[in-house]
């Protein structure tokens, strides 16, 4: 069962690696230590065996067992008097360590070195006083003898003998006797046990520290993810103002957080814009609805004459028309925003479209005493004639409406490289510099009132239409001198 959390998975992985490394290391260290200790003992044993071999002088040979039969069960016929050692009729063999060698073996301490000397046929000739009493002892000696018999062809065959907590060496002398030197390895095995415990303890502590450090490190490394998810949760709950706290901008997660933050910021801005748009749209609808409500409620307060009702209905109609205009403008913008509005791609003479637009607005211009001057060179472009006519008419209407009385409107159309450039200039009061960047915003209105029933969507729609044609629209204005709108369209 693998946990789902990245933290735990990482933790398990490097925990495993740490355990493998520590085990390998501990095992090696243990083996080295063990080899060192046992090697030291073996060296001592060998030294002692060598010394014993030098100082030992075998008893004089005795009759027929001269044949060098090393050990084993003597055949009764061959060695009739070779019974148990105690029954040797000859005086017992006396072996005394020379004084310089006596110090090498203990007297009573079972942990010190000890030796056993065996005759050719396995009978014990001598032993030091501290040989441990153990049944196994004999069994092992027997095994070792057997083992050493296979090495008979060597000049001084030696074999090692390990049993219980003892370690020893067997050597067969050329004369046929066997020297066994051993010692207890109890202190060494205790030491090794301690070493084992120490290694395990060290390993455990390192593992613990490793885990704790790893936990800390992984938590630290994953904290940005927690921050990110916490912020994302808040954002998904609707609080778009939330941002991720980016502490380490350089790390991969820090970069991710920055990217997410800028995404959130753009989302926030888009939502705010949408909200503003919706609120502006609602705002624009409130006034005509107020008119209709007030008109209707006033009229219904008492009996009215027919002309009074007529007046009320006309006011309601004006309000409704205004709402209709607003709603269709809003719908058009929404469709343009969504890219649903398909622009026709036909060749047509743009100058004729503009000229038609001028004809269309002439009555309005005359009403206000505004003169229109045109300078249109025939120019074919590809696009949606109807939509571009809408742009031209909108710019012309604005130029007339925001002109001074008896003002002028100049319209020019010319080609500039592979662009068609349409300019519409008026001689109106101009747009204040601080308002210029906002004129294409939805619901922007120069005079903050609703004279003329304009909602302030015309320029926004014009901009969207021009951009849908791959063109650009811009505005320049001088206060008290007039405003010029320039539309550039690809031919």
């Amino acid at each position: 069962m693998i946990p789902k959390s990245i933290k735990w998975r990482l933790q398990i992985w490097y925990g495993l690696i740490l355990v493998v490394v520590l085990t390998g290391f501990g095992f090696t260290a243990y083996q080295l230590e063990r080899g060192r200790l046992l090697g030291r003992i073996d060296d001592e044993l060998h030294r002692r065996v060598g010394i014993l071999a030098n100082v030992f002088h075998p008893p004089p040979p005795r009759g027929p067992d001269e044949n060098g039969q090393p050990f084993g069960r003597p055949s009764p016929g061959q060695f009739p008097d070779d019974g148990p050692p105690g029954q040797d009729p000859r005086p017992p063999f006396e072996f005394h360590l020379p004084p310089d060698a006596a110090g090498l073996f203990g007297t009573n301490d079972p942990n010190d070195f000890y030796f056993i000397l065996e005759g050719r046929n396995g009978n014990e000739l001598a032993r030091s006083d501290n040989v441990p009493q153990s049944e196994v002892d004999f069994q092992h000696r027997f095994n070792a003898r057997k083992q050493i018999s296979n090495l008979d062809n060597l000049p001084a065959p030696r074999a090692s003998l390990n049993f219980q907590d003892n370690r020893g060496i067997f050597e067969r002398l050329p004369s046929g006797e066997t020297i066994y030197v051993g010692c207890s390895v109890l202190p060494e095995s205790r030491e090794l046990k301690m070493t084992k415990l120490k290694l395990a303890g060290f390993g455990g502590i390192i593992l613990l520290f490793g885990f704790a450090g790893g936990w800390w490190f992984v938590s630290r490394a994953l904290r940005p993810i927690e921050n990110i998810s916490a912020a994302a949760v808040k954002i998904s709950a609707g609080d778009l103002s939330q941002r991720i706290n980016v502490a380490e901008a350089e790390s991969e997660l820090g970069k991710l957080a920055s990217v997410l933050n800028s995404t959130f910021a753009r989302l926030d801005a888009a939502f705010a814009q949408q909200k503003q748009f919706a609120s502006d749209a609602a705002h624009e609808l409130r006034t005509p609805i107020s008119v209709m409500l007030t008109q209707a409620q006033t009229a219904l307060n008492r009996e009215r004459t027919a002309p009074e009702y007529r007046e009320t209905l006309e006011a309601c109609q004006r309000a409704a028309q205004r709402m209709r205009k607003l709603i269709s403008a809003l719908l058009e913008l929404a469709r343009l925003d969504a890219g649903q509005e398909q622009m026709k791609r036909l060749r047509f003479d743009f100058s004729r479209t503009v000229a038609d637009g001028v004809e269309l607005v002439k009555p309005l211009a005359e009403e206000r005493g505004v003169k229109i001057f045109t300078e249109l060179s025939p120019l074919e472009i590809t696009g949606d004639a109807e939509r571009l006519a809408q742009v031209a008419t909108n710019l012309l209407t604005n130029a007339i409406q925001y002109n001074k009385p008896e003002g002028e409107v100049r319209v020019t159309l010319a080609s500039q490289g592979d662009l068609a450039v349409l300019t519409v200039s008026d001689t109106g009061p101009g747009i204040p510099a601080e308002d210029l960047p906002r004129v294409f915003e939805r619901f922007y209105r120069g005079d903050k009132s609703r004279t003329g029933g304009n909602a302030g969507l015309g320029l926004a729609i014009s901009k969207a239409l021009v951009e849908a044609h791959g063109g650009a629209i811009e505005v320049s204005s001088k206060e008290n001198a007039g405003t010029t709108f320039t539309v550039r369209l690809p031919c």
């Binding site: 006034t287 409620q297 006033t298 903050k448």
Partner: protein
């Protein structure tokens, strides 16, 4: 009661003015900020209905300037309904706030409440002797029986009742009961007063010769 409406939407302005006149108010109108401020500063209105979005000068600016000289109750009329707009309106010195679109009846109720509060009255009913004036229903009871008054007569009674104990001059009465479009014939007021005395009793309105009228 004389009211000023400042509103730039002509249809709304016209119907509001008509409805308020039919309620018995004297109504002046202005369709832009500058005229609105000029009117508001030049005359003691009982209340002002002020739109926020206005050409030439917006409602906030009018309110700010007006508050330097006058305490006229102001009811803001606006399409903005976010609470920060309301807070701003009330903090700038507006006395009440109505969001478009509104119901006429609600607007009237709020105007009455504004006028009542500015006269330091807390209830709709003013009792003077055996005469009861219900400013919400806009009718007058004499000994618990309804009395037929014209709108102008009612306004006159209400104005004097709201200023009970004070001597109200003829000029004041003209200012508050007649709007700028009406030619104020000097004896029109006397006609109204004598009609009221016929209906509510001769002693109801006292004449302070050379000063004006008074309800004790």
């Amino acid at each position: 009661m004389r009211i000023l409406i400042v509103e730039d939407e002509p249809d709304l302005l016209r119907s509001l003015a008509q409805a308020l006149r039919e309620e018995g108010y004297a109504v002046d109108t202005a369709n832009n900020g500058e005229d609105g401020l000029f009117n508001a500063e030049g005359c003691d209105y009982d209340a002002i209905v002020l739109d926020v979005m206005l050409p030439k000068m917006d409602g906030w600016e009018i309110l700010k300037r007006l508050r330097k000289t006058k305490k006229t109750p102001v009811l803001m009329l606006t399409a903005r309904d976010q609470s920060r707009d309301r807070v701003r309106g009330l903090d700038t010195g507006a006395d009440d706030y109505v969001v478009k679109p509104f119901d006429l009846s609600e607007l009237f109720a709020r105007l009455r409440a504004l006028i009542r509060r500015s006269a330091n009255k807390t209830t709709n009913v003013i009792e003077i002797g055996n005469v009861k004036i219900d400013t919400a229903a806009r009718h007058v009871l004499l000994k618990e029986k309804p009395v037929e008054l014209t709108a102008r007569e009612y306004s006159l009674v209400e104005f004097l009742a709201l200023h009970r104990g004070e001597v109200v001059t003829r000029t004041q009465l003209y200012e508050h009961l007649f709007d700028e479009n009406e030619s104020s014939l000097s004896n029109l007021l006397d006609v109204h007063v004598s009609n009221i005395r016929k209906k509510l009793g001769a002693e109801f309105i006292a004449t302070r010769r050379g000063h004006g009228y008074c309800i004790e």
